[in-house]
């Protein structure tokens, strides 16, 4: 606190000894900003004064600065990895000399594809093969053996090769010594029989070399190799992008949907609720009872939400204005459910206030109720009390003015979530407290979903919370308590979304939760000097950056976390994720969308 420092200086005048200022000055901060493509900028307008107070934090977050040994090493390792990526792109042209600068003379590695023993999965044109490890060593040493290993790895691809390394973890005791990295390699391309992709995980040893800036690769010990081939004569992937076929005929597509959030945010007053980090959802439902699903798209403040009604030919037309649902208020999510039991889909939009509409037929909606609840994220509906009508659960995030999660890894200062009980006649009552859903209800909640996980005939509720533990509200004849801890499903991390599905096809509902897998976060969390002398905190930081979680229902009210063995953690910085059978084989697959902020700057943190 400035005040305190000044007062201490005041006293020093009367002391018999001098007292020099002990606060270091902060170095000037420079950074790049976006500028218009053809516009000059006012000279001397680089960020300056406003940032002095937090400049030290900029430095702190800069991987190149002191303290982040792992980030400095990661940057160096990446230079070599780019060379290997290039080699993987052209495996038929690779020569040992291309990798001469990468490997040490005594470089060794074991067989990267592992011991093979038949397919792990072979159905509907998809073949999955996994190698077993440990595998035997390859003959020879140095760049030649590295080149040979890489060729073997990549020579099945004919074109469209994509190779990408991720540095998942670095164990770096000190600069100047050998260190190891855990790498994940994602490789894909066209093959003779269709389309293929490989996922590999390697533990690599790197050795600093006197007189060289970059350390050299001394050994690779592979720990995972998984190869997938999707057979296809044309080589096309399983899915295709049909966005334009459906939407481009509507004028809103070019005018509104083809503009990114950031671009829209450069032309709209943020007081309207415009933000370019924003999280905006969508719902699929049949709003007009024609047995075709329609699409509602939520938008940030200042842009209208769109209701795309599907036509007979599969294209869609925006009718939000005619329907009475073209809200310009910031709307994060929407639900279509039959709230008055008349057989059509009514509509709830998480504007502020939350608006609840009756479907009055002929494609029109009329607002029947409002709930003055701010900052609502996901919503989930169910008849929790089995009185025959659908109730609403609304997740909320930070409280106004308190945007700091405290503490970071287990924040308990969020905004309370609300259960609105349907009282009939378009009346909704806040029943949160009355039914026990106020238990552990001050979290930064992003998403919720209902299911009868304990098979007792009523619906229970899982809530995914950012910055900490999640809730599993067990329903006992209409009252709830948070059973997440006793069920083993707290999943203390950055919860973004939740879905239920039967992952192991045993008839019970399992749980998949999206979290944040941050490569930088993972590396930084593992670095030994991140949190000195606080093992409990360190563990929670590491867990925070592990990625998505799969909890398998044991049938006795508890779950087992099988995420790592199941191979479903690495969905990057994930948001929405759902169970879905991608190939109709009867098993629930997973799809997760991800990526936090892609800006102009490419030096991702």
């Amino acid at each position: 606190m400035q005040v305190l420092r000044r007062s201490a200086l005041t006293l020093s005048f009367l002391l018999p000894w001098g007292c020099s200022g002990d606060d270091g000055t902060q170095p000037p901060q420079t950074e790049s900003g976006e500028s218009g493509q053809d516009l000059a900028v006012v000279p001397g307008q680089k960020e300056r004064i406003a940032l002095n107070k937090i400049a030290y934090k900029y430095d702190y977050l800069d991987p190149e600065q002191d303290g982040w040994n792992t980030e400095v090493l990661a940057a160096k390792v990446k230079e070599h990895l780019h060379r290997i990526e290039e080699a993987l792109h052209n495996p038929h042209e690779i020569e040992a000399s291309d990798l001469a600068a990468v490997a040490t003379g005594d470089f060794t590695c074991t067989n990267l594809t592992g011991k093979l023993s038949g397919a792990d999965y072979d159905a509907g044109g998809i073949v999955v093969v996994r190698g077993a490890f440990p595998s035997g060593p390859l003959e020879g040493t140095g760049a030649a053996v590295l080149a040979a290993a890489v060729v073997e790895f990549a020579d099945q691809y004919t074109e469209e090769v994509q190779a990408h390394f991720r540095v998942v973890r670095i164990d770096a005791p000190e600069l100047g010594a050998d260190f190891t990295t855990d790498l994940r390699l994602e490789l894909s391309g066209r093959t003779a029989s269709g389309r293929g992709q490989q996922t590999a995980e390697w533990s690599c040893t790197w050795r600093p070399v006197v007189g060289e800036d970059l350390p050299r690769l001394a050994a690779i010990v592979p720990t995972l190799h998984e190869s997938v081939i999707a057979k296809s004569e044309t080589g096309e992937p399983l899915f295709e992008d049909c966005t334009e076929a459906v939407l481009a005929g509507d004028e809103s597509y070019a005018a509104q949907l083809l503009r990114s959030q950031r671009d829209s945010a450069t032309e709209l007053d943020k007081e309207l609720g415009m933000a370019f980090r924003g999280n905006f959802g969508l719902a699929v439902g049949d709003v007009n009872g024609d047995r075709r699903d329609d699409l509602y798209v939520c938008m940030e403040g200042g842009l209208p939400n769109r209701l795309y009604v599907q036509q007979e030919d599969g294209t869609a037309r925006d009718v939000a204005a005619e329907a009475g649902l073209d809200y310009l208020d910031r709307s994060r999510s929407v639900l279509f459910v039959d709230l008055d039991d008349d057989g059509d889909q009514d509509c709830v939009v998480s504007t502020y206030p939350v608006t609840i509409h009756e479907n009055v037929g002929e494609g029109r909606f009329e607002r029947r109720a409002e709930a003055p609840l701010a900052n609502v994220y996901s919503m989930a509906s169910a008849d929790f009390d089995q009185d025959g009508d659908l109730d609403l659960y609304l997740c909320r995030y930070n409280a106004h003015g308190t945007d700091l999660p405290l503490p970071y890894h287990d924040a308990n200062n969020g905004l309370d979530n609300v259960l609105l009980r349907n009282e009939g006649s378009w009346k909704f009552a806040d029943a949160t407290q009355a039914i026990g859903l106020d238990d552990n209800n001050e979290r930064f909640s992003f998403a919720a979903s209902w299911v009868d996980y304990d098979d007792d005939g009523d619906l229970d509720l899982y809530v995914a919370n950012d910055y900490g533990r999640n809730n599993l509200y067990k329903n006992t004849r209409g009252t709830f308590h948070d059973a997440a801890a006793e069920a083993g499903a707290e999943d203390i991390s950055a919860g973004m979304s939740v879905c239920w599905g039967d992952a192991n096809a045993d008839g019970r509902s399992d749980l998949y939760v999206s979290n944040m897998f941050s490569p930088a976060g993972n590396r930084i969390a593992f670095q030994r000097n991140f949190r000195e002398g606080d093992d409990a905190d360190l563990a929670s930081f590491q867990r925070h950056a592990r990625g998505n979680s799969l909890f398998v229902n044991q049938g006795d009210g508890t779950f087992v976390d099988t995420s790592v063995d199941a191979g479903v953690t690495m969905a990057r910085w994930a948001w929405g994720s759902i169970f879905s059978d991608l190939n109709n084989d009867g098993l629930e697959d997973l799809y997760a969308v991800n990526g936090f902020i892609t800006n102009e700057d490419t030096g991702d943190l």
Binding site: E31, T355, L404, V593
Partner: protein
């Protein structure tokens, strides 16, 4: 991502970390960007394979929502996703390469909820060989901000027919449906016992790769809540270059145009303004052309205006004005950018910011936007958005407080104080008690910054305004105490601090500050009592321990002084001043062995501190360690020649 704070404590470093993260993002830094969406294929129930690439749904966009639907009703699950990037949504269509069987079921409840949300459905294929079960629950809301189709979709692999479907209806028992057809969509009505088939559909959708046009970087933003601006001074384009405020006249708008003589877009734009001067005048817009040219380029700027025959006002934009305008843009837009050239700011006759134009602006646009000034809040909100639509929430309010805080954080303390002065005693933009409290707290923070920069009268004024808003705000009274103490009005300062203490008896800082003032006034006994009070509230305040020691030392109570100072350095071992002070007290009392040890610990923390080295050397001389003193001299010589000479004289003198 950042340091975690202790539970429940607002940690400044932690808060600053978040501020830095948010600013980096606003400034265009990527954060876990360019990530590809992930798909995992279930390879048997226990393990999944990453199939993101072969599935072709590994979109490299910042994905958010995700909904499942068989949009084209061909028996394969498609996905709608939303993301931050353009286009804002994607439909990924399943190309149905699998050749497997499936069934789709629309549930209609009766008795319970009609949507049958919460129903648990099991499909039992005929002659099912394996142990796999096909069970799903119908959800309304799952994933993130998403709702998927209510049509339940089951992949059935190689199964050729369906034996039965068992539905556990919400709140009711199980119902078995027989005769459900495979590879079809059917309706299951509660209590009907029979499936009703829906007609098949054939839809052909072409695939393409959407490509969004790159944004131009130019644009206009009109404010939904025009922002009152602080004082804006510009330099006149005459020989005096004296600073004058931008003048406003009710009913006339001012367009502040930033330009430079070397900027072609700017010259073209000024040319157009000049050509259409009559239209602008008729629309009530006065242009003020402010050049950002450096000194050397100014003659060229003047020549350009003269050649043009520019008849409107002109001048130079000083850096304070640029900062104010930049801060205003930061207040209006979420992305943070450098000010472009040209940029123009449309201000109303009452000095409120109405619109910002990045890049050249058409006269036609200005004429249209001038009409925004007369609109009421509701009409204005509708006029500033690019598409029509409806609103349900309240109209936005200009956030003057945040704007003032931004000015403060940019170091424009006097401007911020002046701006905040317009807000009191109550925020004219409304907001009630909470807003008043926020204003008072902002004033306190501003007061602290003003005090730090030595702007004491303004600081005092600012704290007093905080007290006027919230008489019980202890930190405001504390601030007044600090300023008065700086002004050497000790009696009044102590009274203010006592008031602060009455309001917040738990703040250890208040008695500490009282102690400092009393010590300065040589009221040592009372000072010690005040430090004791502070330490009883916060025993770890090293400065209180240290200053307590200083007072004891003044009183000649050496042992107590040393004890207090040692407490300070026990709590904070790297507290250099404490080590030095201890050494000097011991030295003055000729407790030389102890003094030497204390000097050594001080030097261990800062080996090259000349002042400590010279004192250390003198103590070595005094104790008779001439060799040691010479070694110290050698260390000192490259650091400070004068002090080295003094030590050398000391050594020679003893010889």
């Amino acid at each position: 991502m950042s340091h975690s704070p202790e539970a429940g404590i607002e940690n400044k470093s932690y808060r600053d970390g978040w501020i830095a993260v948010h600013r980096m993002i606003r400034q265009g830094k990527s954060w876990s960007g360019r990530e590809r969406h992930s798909a995992f294929l279930n390879t048997g129930g226990a393990r999944f394979a990453d199939v993101s690439a072969v599935a072709g749904i590994d979109l490299q966009a910042d994905g958010r929502a995700l909904a499942r639907v068989d949009w084209d009703q061909d028996g394969g699950i498609d996905f709608w996703t939303s993301n931050r990037n353009a286009p804002r949504v994607h439909l990924f269509r399943n190309r149905r390469a699998d050749g497997n069987h499936w069934v789709q079921l629309d549930l209609v409840g009766s008795g319970g909820n009609r949507d049958a949300i919460g129903a648990r459905v099991e499909v039992v294929p005929r002659d099912a060989a394996g142990e796999l079960r096909y069970v799903k629950t119908l959800h309304a809301g799952e994933g993130f901000l998403s709702q998927s189709s209510k049509t339940m979709h089951f992949g059935l692999g190689a199964a050729e027919a369906i034996e039965r479907v068992i539905v556990r209806w919400p709140g009711a028992g199980e119902e078995v449906f027989e005769g459900v057809q495979i590879d079809r969509r059917q309706v299951l009505g509660q209590g009907s016992g029979a499936a009703q088939a829906l007609p098949a559909r054939a839809v052909a959708l072409a695939s393409s790769t959407p490509d969004a046009p790159r944004a131009s970087g130019r644009g206009r933003v009109a404010l939904a809540a025009p922002l009152p601006m602080p004082r804006m001074l510009y330099a006149q384009a005459d020989t005096t270059a004296s600073l004058v405020p931008i003048a406003f006249e009710p009913g006339r708008a001012v367009l502040v145009n930033l330009w430079a003589s070397w900027c072609a877009n700017c010259r073209k734009e000024l040319d157009a303004f000049h050509e259409h001067a009559a239209e602008l005048d008729a629309a009530g817009v006065d242009v003020l052309a402010l050049s950002v040219d450096e000194e050397a380029e100014r003659p060229a700027a003047l020549k350009f205006l003269a050649d043009l025959g520019w008849g409107e006002a002109s001048g130079w934009a000083p850096s304070e004005l640029l900062d104010v305008l930049r801060t205003a843009e930061e207040e209006v837009l979420d992305p943070l950018r450098e000010l472009a050239l040209p940029t123009s700011f449309l201000l109303s006759g009452t000095g409120r910011l109405v619109a910002i134009y990045r890049g050249p602006v058409e006269v036609e646009t200005l004429v249209r936007d001038a009409a925004l000034i007369d609109l009421d809040a509701l009409a204005l909100r509708d006029a500033v958005v690019p598409f029509p639509g409806r609103w349900v929430g309240p109209t936005p309010v200009a956030d003057l407080l945040t704007f003032a805080n931004r000015l403060r954080d940019r170091g424009h303390l006097a401007l911020a104080a002046d701006y905040l002065a317009r807000l009191g005693p109550r925020n004219p933009e409304g907001g009630g008690d909470e807003a008043t409290r926020s204003l008072a707290q902002s004033l306190v923070l501003l007061g602290a910054d003003l005090t730090r920069d030595g702007l004491l009268p303004t600081a005092l004024e600012t704290y007093k305004r905080a007290v006027a808003l919230d008489a019980e705000l202890a930190l405001a009274h504390q601030g007044i105490g600090i300023v008065l103490s700086e002004l050497r009005e000790d009696a009044r300062a102590i009274r203010a601090l006592q008031r602060a203490r009455g309001l917040d008896p738990k703040d250890a800082r208040t008695p500490y500050l009282v102690g400092v003032i009393l010590a300065r006034g040589e009221r040592f006994v009372e000072a010690i009592a005040a430090f004791d009070q502070s330490l009883s509230l916060n025993p770890k305040n090293v400065k209180a321990h240290f200053n307590r020691g200083a007072v004891f030392s003044k009183q000649g109570r050496v042992d107590q002084a040393i004890e207090a100072i040692r407490k300070a350095r026990t709590i904070e071992p790297a507290y250099l001043q404490a080590h030095r002070a201890e050494a000097q007290i011991l030295h003055a009392r000729k407790r030389l062995p102890e003094a030497l040890n204390a000097y050594r610990s001080a030097l261990a923390l800062q080996p090259n501190h000349a002042g400590t080295l010279v004192a250390f050397g003198v103590a070595q001389v005094e104790i008779g360690d001439r060799a040691g003193a010479l070694r110290t001299l050698q260390r000192l010589m490259p650091l400070d020649a004068n002090l080295a000479a003094q030590l050398q004289a000391e050594i020679s003198r003893v010889r």
